[in-house]
Amino acid sequence: MSDLAAAATSPVRIIAAKDIRDALRDRFIVIVTLFLALAALTALVTGAIALRTDVATFEAAKATLLALGKSADQIRSPEFYPLRLMRGAIEQTEIIGAAIAILIGYRVAASERGRQTLTLIMTQPIRRCQFVAGKAAAGIGLLAAGLAVVLAALAVTLHFVSGIGLGAGDLLRIAIVWVAAVGYMASFFLVSFILSLHIVRHQRLWDRLRGFRNGGFLAHLNRQGMKMRKKSEPQTSTAERVVKDIRRKTRKQHSAEEKIRIVLEGLRGEESIAALCRREGIATSLYYSWSKEFLEAGKKRLAGDTARQATSPEVKDLRAEAAALKEAVADLTLENRLLKKSMLGDGGDDI
């Protein structure tokens, strides 16, 4: 029995775990919670200021009445319930929380968009309701955790700001508020999530309704979106293609001689490259590519020539001849020296 239950909840758990990890990994939930906390604390501080003003007004009125010799019972004393202070903060939390819930609902559904993962998941042996339950568990769990953090922060702040300790009853009330707020936010989350998911799955209908069948701006959201976009590309760009074809066919073909002439004119530098290109009716980029090719080709050719010259048979012969002559010079020098030595007879080098 427990095996059966495990088998039924396992896909829900797997899907929920993935979404929660995603939300923690990109710090989305952290940022959202901080934002919520900031809004709530702002409301709390303004509430505290308002309460302080109330107290000051009450004290002033009381003093006036007493000075006039009247009883202070006529005016109502402001309430000092610490949770009253929190009311504004909680209202704020719920309004912003609802917006955040819608955002999370959309995000959870959108994470499956345009990537065919929904198809992969729906061909696994899991039920549609398990998939939805997993996603919902993750979303609502994240919301509940975020809200718990915010409420805890509020309670702690209140404890120190108001100076009036929170009793067990107060904490219980906060817990009830937490449950109610989670339920409230969860309803927004579910509406947003199911609507978004529905849009993902029935994009074809949407496209038809919006007249975007052949790939409107929402086409990428479709299960078939990628495919449709691919198909529609040649269709939507028919006009562009015709223009391209015309351009291609009417394009002037430049002969090699013309190219050399234009490049040389450019190199002469008598007029600017821009002016030259305008006159010749070519793009400057084309001129520069020609010029580059021209110079590269020339360089290559010239480098090849020197290499070829250096290995030509004539050069080889001349080199051999030069080597022979050098040897002859060396021989003669040596001979000359020997003769000189024998003539002087002292063998010294100092002449």
């Binding site: 896909p11 993935k18 065919q116 992969l120 061909t123 696994q124 042996p125 899991i126």
Partner: protein, 142 residues
């Protein structure tokens, strides 16, 4: 198992007035490698979507290993592996985590992690599996 592994019987799909697949009947035997060809709009994807239980046929039926696609979709899903066109896995997870996620969903019996590791090694993916993945058209970029 006796008989064809896939048996399609007058499978039909309609979108409004348009009949996308019209009474398709055929059998595919066990061990057979079957190429399913057709021009654009021939109804290939529509047929595959019905066979993979992604959509319900307007009429007719099909059996995958003897399991009816309409009445027994869970058993059909347990027996098929389907990789759709243009699939992009989750780019928030590494390749390994993607494999783990889908392996767990498909009911791979533990130890899932070891099996995934073995598969990545087999595919020469070990180094890449560590990095966050990005799927491009039909290929894997890391």
């Amino acid at each position: 198992m006796d008989g064809p592994i896939l048996s399609i019987d007058r499978l039909t799909q309609k979108f409004g007035d348009f009949t996308a697949v019209d009474a398709l009947s055929m059998d595919v035997g066990e061990g057979e490698i079957f190429g399913f060809l057709g021009h654009n709009g021939a109804g290939k994807t529509t047929t595959i979507q019905m066979l993979t239980t992604l959509s319900r046929p307007a009429s007719g039926t099909a059996r995958v290993q003897g399991h009816e696609i309409c009445t027994d979709p869970m058993e059909v899903r347990r027996r098929i592996g389907y990789v759709p066109e243009n699939v992009r896995l989750y780019d928030t997870m590494t390749a390994r985590e993607n494999l783990l996620f889908f392996a767990r969903l498909s009911g791979v019996v533990p130890p899932v992690a070891d099996l995934v590791l073995a598969t990545t090694v087999m595919a020469g993916l070990t180094l890449r599996a560590m990095a966050r993945m990005q799927m491009t058209d039909g290929g894997l970029d890391v």
